[in-house]
């Protein structure tokens, strides 16, 4: 059943610089994780996407980027699924 998601996660991880990715459902439960990311961060990723979407509810879901000197975390909600990609920059 989750073969398709597995394939997508492998595709994401094959991009240069990407260290891990996490996918979360609308309840904040982890659908899948690849790489170094922990499944425990699923809830907080869903919550961040929820809170950011409240800023402009009339527009579609925003892309949220957290960045430090070396790494970035990119979060976006699409329908009921939220994806987070962690990458080196």
């Amino acid at each position: 059943m989750e073969k398709h998601l597995d394939r997508v996660m492998d595709d994401v991880l094959s991009n240069p610089g990407v260290t891990s990715c996490v996918f979360v459902d609308h309840q904040g439960l982890c659908l899948g994780a690849r790489g170094k990311a922990s499944t425990e961060c699923a809830g907080i990723i869903g919550a961040i996407a929820d809170q950011a979407a409240k800023l402009e509810p009339q527009h579609k879901s925003p892309i949220i980027v957290f960045e430090n000197d070396t790494r970035a975390c990119i979060i976006q909600r699409n329908g009921t699924i939220t994806g987070a990609i962690f990458k080196n920059i």
């Binding site: 904040g28 439960l29 425990e40 699923a42 809830g43 907080i44 919550a47 929820d50």
Partner: protein, 124 residues
């Protein structure tokens, strides 16, 4: 105990839609209880909370090992209970609240349980 209550209150405000955090013993007797005014009365009573013990006993018969977490979603509320025997952590939240976020609170509560576990284990 007052400090523990303060930390739990802080956690309560971290998750939107989280109404109540209870730490009880295996019989559902509250050791500490932090709630907002939206928390349903019936769900905070020992008669309801103690069913967790029965449920995980039955769940362990599935052959998948000891049950760690029980999530019940109702029409208006969700109850998330975590097995920390001899203690049980119960979260009562709105049905639309972020379940994963609530499960993530476990790591904040874990270090607070050390002393409570010893106290409860001594009395049993």
């Amino acid at each position: 105990m007052e400090e523990l209550r303060k930390i739990l209150l802080e956690l309560l405000s971290k998750v939107p839609g989280l109404y109540c955090v209870l730490i009880t013993d295996r019989d559902g007797v509250p050791v500490i209880k932090v709630l907002t005014d939206k928390a349903p009365d019936l769900a905070t009573r020992p008669s309801f909370l103690s069913t967790f013990g029965l449920a995980i006993d039955q769940g362990s018969k599935l052959g998948l090992g000891k049950a760690k977490t029980l999530i019940c979603t109702y029409s208006q509320y969700q109850i998330i209970q975590i097995n920390k025997l001899p203690l049980i952590i119960s979260f009562i939240a709105s049905d639309t609240s972020n379940t994963g976020h609530i499960l993530g609170l476990e790591k904040y509560i874990d270090p607070l349980l050390v002393n409570l576990t010893v106290a409860v284990a001594d009395t049993q």
